[in-house]
Symmetry: C2
Subunit: 328 residues, 2 copies
Amino acid sequence: MKTSYKIAIVGSTGLVGRTVLKILEEKNFKNCSYTLFSSKKSAGSKLEFLGQSYVICELTENSFNSKFDYAIFCAGGEVSKKYIPIAVKNGCTVIDNSSVFRMDPKVPLVVPEVNPEKIFENSGIIANPNCSTIQAVIPLKPLDIKYNIKRIVYSTYQAVSGAGRQGILDLESGIKGEPPKKFPYPIFNNCIPHIDVFLEDGYTKEEHKMIDETRKILDKPNLPITATTVRVPVRNCHSESINIEFEKEFDIYDVFKLLEKSPGIIVVDNPSKNYYPLATKADGGDEILVGRIRRDFSIKSGLNIWCVGDNLRKGAASNAVQILEKLL
Amino acid sequence: MKTSYKIAIVGSTGLVGRTVLKILEEKNFKNCSYTLFSSKKSAGSKLEFLGQSYVICELTENSFNSKFDYAIFCAGGEVSKKYIPIAVKNGCTVIDNSSVFRMDPKVPLVVPEVNPEKIFENSGIIANPNCSTIQAVIPLKPLDIKYNIKRIVYSTYQAVSGAGRQGILDLESGIKGEPPKKFPYPIFNNCIPHIDVFLEDGYTKEEHKMIDETRKILDKPNLPITATTVRVPVRNCHSESINIEFEKEFDIYDVFKLLEKSPGIIVVDNPSKNYYPLATKADGGDEILVGRIRRDFSIKSGLNIWCVGDNLRKGAASNAVQILEKLL
């Protein structure tokens, strides 16, 4: 690794940004020089990172005048839309956590376990997929290669941390009976079938993200997929009930073996011992836990799985850092 | 109504039993004489009911010697298995909340909005379906009549009250960091894809109940159905993501209109106003809230809906009392 890469972390004080810093520390990413950006609000504050004290810099239109090699953006769509083109024009390669560029045909949408080869087809921007998509495509990819996926039905159980720090605060304050600030309804004691905004067709943008991004990452632009995405009162880690129909017939033991040897997955599936994926077990890890693997008897070549992933880590920060690692 | 019916409530101190009493009070079911039974543990304690003080009687093998006209059993499978045959032999007609007799071909499995005509085909026992099945078949029945259901994919989000009082206590104590007593893992901050016991094929008994009972109630013994049933950290009211494929084509506006005029349903579906079914809104009601009604574009004649019901009331107690009302 070249030792002098200059790296910008944009949105470094947010929930995902802090997780990016944590993962860089875990991976001991020392041989780079970092600049940590935030909005005006948090700028000037200090952060301990890799044994040093960093003063957070305000992100401005001139921030990328001093050339950066790489940037990880985790500050939301508006910031990405405005500042990423400036960064790219100044020669910086950007890994973007927002949804702004994900469906741009010139922008690779990458999960390193699934389509790492796309990383180098970038024109300055590599998009990090939606958290709920990342944890789904990791088990779906090897299954698709072997059995050719014909249709997917997603139902998600998404944690409040996916809505940022205020999402977590809404759950915590909801327990005490206080009204929500982030969510339209109390999330405590509720399942809210509404993530991101509603679109004309009655689906939410989150549901469309799962459909469109899965198609792009699996490189099957017309794959029939439907989705119902739901916020549940869980602090961290998304769970997903995934129903899959394949073109080819499968042996259920081969499915277990295939998933067990596939990258980024831990198979947790032993009903007799009550082993199955749980949010509390996936929390803090980078692997996707896959279990409840069983034939769907209602259709030819149907399969049900239950997968759980840490949406802040593998669903966002770890995936971005893995892309950075591949780039370096 | 004859004024002298003798009615036994078995399991009257449990979560469902108390809800049965509450609903009898709401409906002002005064013109009957009641005997409230429980296990030895709660026997002798007192309960206020319909303005009177009742001493809870211990259920024994002789309890049905004094003839009862009707009994509602809400004390679990073991009690139903042992005492219902005795009650029936003594001329009592029983409405049973347990799963013991549900799939017996001689026992009608009844949701009054769906198949009320079956009530009178009983040989002494009428089974109350599983909570998660009741709230599903109420919207499914009118859709099936009009469009002929071809396949169903269920993913459920089930409240802890479905596991009885200790389920609620597990959620409450889990918030304080205490270990669970009812569930195999903490339910706070978790989604547990495990309700009832696991069977040989990798499915849980709860999933089989949903599949088998839906088929029986819709009177389609071979209908292809699959299910993933999940416990979520919600106090009361189950939510369900239901994906349906029909034989016949539909117009989405006709689906709305059909559901709106169907019994037992409140359509809550206006995304532009953030109207959709929520556990906190269904709590305490007897109607099933149905929303997120939208075409599933991944398949010909596919539909997604999200339905929420109070599992203690319509999912158990209210349904049983409605059956009793039809009998009287």
